[in-house]
């Protein structure tokens, strides 16, 4: 096995172009397990640990009115929990559920995206937040991939063989966000299923993400559209009133219906559908209560939503 250790990002891109079979290695929390168990024998490993930029996070896009956090692919989950819970609440909550403190110090979002397991904890939050993946190749430069287009199949993504994930751009939250995950242990547990919801009052949209309940991470689009419609119709963004219980129920049913879970060693498909319904109901209540209580005042105001309506 060849072990490639580029010192800079450009060297990494060149190495990947020359050896498209090289498997990128950063925290190693996934790939090293696979190699140790001999489940995978890559001909080459591309170690990205020398590239310090990948562990940086910066706030960008303020001038454009759509600020985002550019989270380097190797920013560890523990950093996201500690430093980015303000602008990226759902991703920070999700990061806090990843494995153990040791793993959170090593693993990052780039690895979750590269592996593209439906059980990756970051995916539902990235979907709900409307993230954009920064993929790059030596030949074609940077390609911005909306998260909706990123996952293409079970443990597959849209990266070309010569591309590496450099960062993920996650919009600064303009409204409350939540993340919730079911596991049969109270810590350090792989998801039976997971759900994230983000209110986007500026655009009047609602976005969601579902993990571990379909071949890929998915959004519950019908639930999003339904809820956005109810909020617009009721002028709820402006009135900040209580949500009709029937709407909450319908939203939860639509979330559950968006999943296509299987029975496996971690749980049954029926339980996953049920749990998604419960998580959708609860997380929607949490984000909406936060919005109503004005805890969302730190975010952009919801006036744009009126314009959308």
């Amino acid at each position: 096995m060849d072990f490639l250790r580029p010192a800079t990002w450009d060297e990494a891109l060149a190495a990947k172009a020359g050896r498209p079979d090289a498997v990128p290695l950063s925290g190693g929390t996934d790939i090293m397990v696979e190699i140790n168990f001999d489940h995978r024998r890559p001909d080459a490993l591309l170690d990205l640990n020398r590239i310090a930029d990948l562990r940086e996070h910066t706030r960008e896009g303020d001038g454009s009115g759509a600020p985002y956090i550019r989270v380097g692919a190797a920013v560890p989950y523990s950093t996201i929990v500690e430093h980015l819970h303000g602008p990226l609440p759902a991703l920070a909550l999700a990061s806090h559920t990843v494995a153990s403190p040791q793993i959170r110090n090593r693993g990052g979002v780039g690895g979750n995206l590269g592996t593209a397991s439906p059980a990756g904890d970051a995916h539902p939050a990235l979907l709900a937040a409307d993230a954009v993946v920064e993929a790059e190749s030596a030949e074609r430069g940077v390609r911005l991939v909306p998260i909706d287009d990123f996952y293409t199949g079970v443990k597959r993504n849209c990266l070309a063989p010569d591309e590496l994930i450099r960062a993920v751009r996650v919009p600064v939250a303009d409204g409350p966000q939540q993340f919730s995950k079911v596991g049969t242990r109270n810590a350090m547990v792989i998801a039976v299923c997971a759900f994230s919801v983000a209110l986007h009052p500026r655009s009047g949209r609602v976005r969601t993400g579902i993990g571990s309940a379909a071949p890929t991470p998915v959004r519950a689009r019908a639930a999003e559209d339904f809820l956005a419609g109810v909020l617009a119709e009721e002028r709820a963004w402006q009135r900040r009133g209580a949500l009709p219980p029937s709407a909450v129920r319908e939203f939860a049913d639509l979330v559950s219906g968006a999943a296509s879970p299987i029975d496996d060693v971690r749980g049954t498909g029926d339980y996953r559908r049920h749990a998604l319904r419960v998580m959708a109901r609860r997380t929607l209540a949490w984000v909406w209560d936060e919005y109503r209580d004005g805890h969302g005042d730190g975010y952009e105001d919801g006036e744009g939503a009126g314009a959308c309506a």
Binding site: F37, D38, T184, R185, N186, I190, G267, H274, A275, R282
Partner: protein, 805 residues
């Protein structure tokens, strides 16, 4: 040649001479373990060593039509490939029945059964060579349960079986069957007729794994005398040797075992794992061979707790007097016997629980199937029964409209009670008192105003809620419940087995100071023998400086570190041998120093304290070193517990157990009734330990046992596919054990009511808490949800969607 890194003698210098029995002296290996410095058996290393690997069956049941090792042998770096035909001597081994092939010959009987051994100069080479061995399997339908094991067309797992149980069993696919009958038929019918209230139900216990953290590992070194030295993590060095020597074709004295650093055991190291392959490969190649299982292989490399299906029926008067109990316990022993027969004996004899019930019709049996082999695990047959009978007691109390604890106390055994086997409990049995104590403890406070306020938006620490960091609830759906359970466990080996122990104690003067060396073959697997033995020696010989010799087979057998027996048995052996050393010392004193002080010949008791010989009222009459003189005293002696009897094959009658041990738990849980997630808020225990030789270790045992029981209640299960008998979750990703966030505060109340038969009156500690913890947690969840919950481990889907508002 670089020497093997082998265990060093453990000095246990006490900070004070008061560190005898009853003191909470600290473990000599504690800091090393916490800081990662402790050398486990997986850290063994020898210059020039090879690495062994096992090729295992991917099928639970198949014929082997042929094995082609050609490609594996040809791989560079490969030094040996062994199949069944290469075995030099005995081909089968086993703890109680020699029914397990060292390597499968023409048939594999469980998923993961060894088919070939490989030695290579790198572990990865060995693994890849094993993958190149071509085994032609013809899969057979697996036997998976009682119906397929004992039905009319059942395939025999061991055709032509011949062992000490085979004549007595109702079917060749039953390893052992043990009925227990108390009361004659007429009285039985009358008791059933008298019952005002009857509760009957079926229960199920999933397959728990011991999940020790240090996987199977060891190092075999061929010796110049044609023998072998094996450095190994095990529970019983001498029984390993007894099984190994015939397989290697060596006399026992040429098979020398030394205990290496053990990373937990819990029963999983009672059967052999890599002992035979490492030794066979070492003898075949003439090179040292190391083997280390990884976590995946470990799940296939040791026996598990028997999964069980149980049926119970209790009848009681309306006043809550239990008149009769009927039970049938079916344990799945898997493909090989291991210790199934003894597990059956425990399940049958302890199946009625710590209750004085005049009429009993019980039976337990273990099946041969193609499921993973099951054997010893902490609690050993008593765990499965305790879950079921305690669930029954809850249901009976509910039906009677009685308090759950009151019903238990009213029917509890006490000193002088008869067990269903007819054995009298001739020792303290404070079952009612233990229950009273856990019930009397203050309950952990509920949150001010309950969880409603948290749900209404107040800040909440999700770590204190079901789901924990997964952030599933801020108080929604949460209900609190409180549950109780109590259990009974035997201590030591039973049914007529003489599981003696041996200790060699040497007292000598070094640089003018008295020093004691304690040498036993006791496997220190974490239970704290290394601490307790030194405490005993200090107490008996009045010497501060005590060193524990590494455990090996150069001294007599210590028996197994199992069945809560080591403090009793090897502690007893150390005590007994120290007493013999003291007698010899005092004999020398009388001989040499009688003229100095009248007390020597006065016939009064002399004691050893702080390096001096003292009269009973504390007057020093001589220095120990002076009495000892130049010549050390070294004595090796055995200690035997009182004899027990086998259970009668048809009635189960017999004084089968050495000692009984009792623990009671109160569990407080919070349940997310919508999602089926559970947070154990507190798990309080009260246990009678006879005498706490090391109170800190005792509390540690109770905490550990309670946590392992909590794991069985809520998460720990090896899932085996129903059709293929294949293990589905051989990893810590999907075999879940409790994390610290799942482990609640565990107040422990220790009683010390001496058992007159035992050394210092002590009672074995480690297993009883594992019994009652599981049903206490389940009882609390029943209290919170109103559901019957007749299966462990609980899964979220057993609660979610089933709880009425």
């Amino acid at each position: 040649m670089t020497a093997t890194r082998c265990p060093e003698p453990t000095p246990t210098h006490a900070a004070a001479s008061s560190a005898g029995i009853g003191a909470s002296t600290l473990r000599p290996d504690g800091i090393l373990k916490v800081t990662g410095e402790f050398a486990y058996s997986s850290d063994l290393w020898h210059e020039d060593m090879l690495w062994g690997h096992t090729l295992r069956s991917p099928h639970a049941h198949a014929e082997i039509r042929g094995i082609d090792v050609t490609e594996a042998v040809r791989m560079p770096g490969v030094h040996a490939v062994l199949t069944h035909d290469d075995l030099p001597a005995a081909t089968h081994y086993g703890l109680e029945f020699a029914d397990q092939p060292v390597l499968a010959k023409d048939r594999v009987r469980f998923h993961g059964e060894p088919v070939a051994f490989v030695a290579a100069d790198h572990p990865e080479t060995a693994r890849r060579a094993a993958a190149k061995i071509k085994v032609a399997y013809a899969p057979l339908p697996p036997v998976t349960d009682e119906a397929s094991a004992t039905g009319p067309d059942a395939v025999l797992i061991h055709p032509g079986r011949h062992d000490h149980r085979s004549d007595a069993v109702p079917h060749p696919n039953i390893v052992h069957h043990q009925p227990v009958i108390r009361g004659d038929d007429g009285a039985w019918a009358a008791a059933k007729a008298r019952a005002d209230v009857v509760v009957a139900a079926d229960y199920e216990v999933g397959m728990q794994d011991q999940a020790f953290l240090g996987p199977e590992s060891g190092l075999a070194v061929p010796a110049e005398d044609g023998g072998i030295d094996l450095y190994i993590a095990t529970q019983w060095l001498h029984v390993d040797r007894q099984q190994l020597a015939p397989v290697l074709g060596l006399p026992e004295e040429k098979v020398r075992l030394t205990l290496s650093g053990v990373g937990g055991a819990f029963g999983a190291r009672e059967d052999m794992s890599m002992q035979a392959p490492a030794c066979l490969l070492a003898m075949h190649t003439g090179r040292p061979v190391k083997m280390v299982y990884n976590r995946y292989e470990s799940f296939f490399g040791h026996v598990h707790r028997h999964p069980a299906k149980l049926h119970y029926e209790h009848g009681a008067t309306k006043d809550g007097e239990i008149l009769y109990v009927e039970y049938r316990i079916v344990l799945d022993g898997g493909a090989y016997a291991s210790s199934s027969a003894s597990v059956v004996g425990n399940a049958a004899s302890l199946g009625a629980g710590p209750y004085d019930i005049p009429h009993v019709r019980g039976e337990a049996l273990a099946l041969y199937t193609n499921n993973p082999p099951c054997g010893a695990m902490r609690g050993f047959g008593a765990v499965q029964a305790c879950f079921a009978y305690e669930a029954q007691l809850d249901k009976l109390a509910a039906k009677l409209g009685m308090d759950r604890v009151e019903l238990r106390r009213r029917n509890a055994v006490g000193e002088g009670s008869l067990m269903p086997t007819g054995q009298e409990i001739d020792q303290p049995a404070p079952v009612a008192e233990l229950l009273r104590r856990v019930k009397a403890l203050p309950l952990p406070p509920e949150r001010d105003g309950g969880w409603g306020r948290a749900a209404a938006g107040e800040d909440v620490d999700v770590r204190s809620l079901p789901g924990g960091l997964s952030n599933t609830s801020h108080g929604e759906g949460i209900r609190r419940g409180v549950g109780y359970a109590v259990g009974i466990k035997n201590v030591g080996y039973s049914e007529g087995f003489d599981d003696y122990s041996t200790a060699k104690v040497r007292l000598e003067a070094v640089a003018g100071e008295p020093v004691v060396l304690v040498h036993t073959a006791m496997a220190e697997v974490g239970q704290g023998g290394v601490t307790v033995h030194a405490q005993i020696a200090r107490t008996e010989l009045g010497v501060d400086r005590v060193t524990i010799h590494p455990a090996d087979t150069q001294v007599g057998s210590a028996g197994s570190t199992s069945a809560c027996r080591q403090t009793y048995m090897t502690g007893g052996a150390v005590k007994h041998t120290c007493e013999l050393v003291r007698e010899e010392l005092l004999r020398r004193g009388r001989e040499r120093l009688a003229h100095r002080h009248p007390a020597w010949l006065a016939g009064v008791e002399l004691v050893l304290e702080s390096g001096k010989v003292c009269t009973h009222d504390g007057e020093p009459i001589a220095d120990l070193v002076e009495v000892l003189g130049e010549e050390p005293i070294e004595i090796e002696a055995e200690f035997h517990h009182r004899p027990t009897e086998p259970f009668h094959p048809r009635t189960g009658q017999g004084a089968g157990h050495v000692q009984y041990s009792f623990c009671a738990h109160r569990a407080v849980v919070e349940v997310d009734t919508d999602l089926g997630l559970v947070k154990v808020v507190e798990l309080a225990a009260a246990q009678d330990v006879g005498k706490a030789l090391n109170p800190l270790s005792v509390v540690g045992q109770i905490h550990g046992g309670s946590t392992q029981g909590l794991g069985l209640a809520l998460m720990e299960e090896i899932q085996v596919s129903a059709d293929g008998a294949l293990i589905r979750n051989p990893s810590f990703t999907d075999y879940l054990i409790p994390t610290i966030l799942d482990t609640p505060p565990m107040p422990v109340d220790i009683l010390e009511l001496a058992d007159g038969n035992a050394p210092y009156g002590l009672r074995g500690v480690g297993e009883a808490p594992t019994l009652s913890s599981t049903p206490a947690v389940m009882s609390a969840i029943r209290d919170a949800t109103g559901l019957a919950l007749d299966r462990v481990p609980l899964r979220p889907e057993h609660i979610a969607g089933h709880v009425s508002g």
